[in-house]
Amino acid sequence: MTTRHDELIALRLGAAPASPRLRRWLATAAGRRELAAHREALGAVDALWARVPRPIAYGSLATPIGRVLVAAGAAGIVRISFRRSEADFAAELRRRFGAVAVRDPARIAGAVRALRAYFAGERRAFDVPVDLSALTPFQRRVLLATATVPAGQVVSYGEIARRIGQPLGSRAVGQALGHNPIPIVIPCHRVIGGGGRIGGYTGGLDVKRTLLRLEGARVAVG
């Protein structure tokens, strides 16, 4: 093909501005046709290749509540889980985020360090980034409000509902916390039922009790 085509490709690939000669050609019917054809072809390939997102990295660490699995994307931690196999965890990541999941301890090293320090009692707050972008705005509000409850304290579902400006929404708050994708780091275990009852915990009530004891929370956790 001609040099004009090469120039057009350079233009489409963002490598060069259009020369006056190319611009004149693009104003003709033939030029417009060619431009449209190239745009179509590259657009089609973009649509194919854009479907491969950056993989989510995962790994695990041993803790007093058993092996804890951690997954992180480019923006931060996306999922923490426990009491299940790594294969099951990786399959969930693929389903939930539509992404490839790769066992890559190097990319979650920061989160693992923070969790180790927390379980060793050396750290009471997490400063690792979390990525809540896959959640609904309501879930995000609930989880962000929960993240402000410091270690050693507990609040009720109703209190979280009040804090997010939906005082009648304690049942919805309970549901959102039941689906907290990042337990421990987002401390849904610090949210308990009315009247000091421990409430529920997706990861198992014994885990909730262990975490609260570890933090020295003054609540009837026995």
């Binding site: 190239h38 290749w49 997102p53 480019a74 190097a106």
Partner: protein, 167 residues
């Protein structure tokens, strides 16, 4: 030796994601890409000591990845005489809204698959992985002009193959 171990670990940490994405795009399915990716970092471990200081480690990793992808593709071709069709099911299903769109994507995938590996890799590195032509040359062998020619050839072939394609 310890210093080398740390550097290669850093390199793996920084680039593993993009290398795997590159292999998935190049090979068209996750299973082969995961295999090839393991292979890439094994080879990188072994060859890291021979990497000249100050050289472009990213382009070097892409070079190893392209070679591993070629081996994987060759192995696959040997295993099945029938050319394996592009398996969209092994790619994440995000954004696929209709059977028609799926069928169109399959057509595009076939056109891309029909390109020679070097051209497909060159276009991919330029369009999706942001490599300069000099880096593409370092990744695929040959000089900058050849890298540019490979990218252009790929675009021209796709333009002909996808004529009238409504993206």
């Amino acid at each position: 030796m310890r210093g080398t171990a740390i550097h290669i670990a850093e390199l793996v940490g920084r680039h593993r994601g993009e290398i795997l994405a590159y292999l998935m795009r190049l090979l068209g399915n996750e299973h082969d890409a995961q295999d090839a990716c393991q292979d890439v970092f094994l080879r990188a471990h072994r060859a890291f000591a021979r990497l000249a200081p100050g050289s472009n480690a990213r382009a070097w990793l892409y070079r190893i990845a392209t070679n591993c992808a070629r081996n994987t593709a060759r192995g696959r071709a040997r295993r099945s005489a029938r050319r394996a069709d592009v398996d969209l099911d092994t790619l994440p299903a995000h954004g696929i809204t209709s059977p028609e769109r799926r069928e169109r994507l399959r057509l595009v995938a076939r056109a891309v698959r029909a390109l020679p590996t070097r051209q497909r890799a060159a276009l991919l590195l330029r369009r999706f992985h942001g490599l300069e032509y000099a880096e593409i040359a370092a990744s695929l062998g040959g000089n900058e002009a050849a890298a540019r020619a490979n990218v252009y050839q790929a675009v021209k072939k796709l333009r002909v193959a996808l004529e009238g394609f409504d993206a």
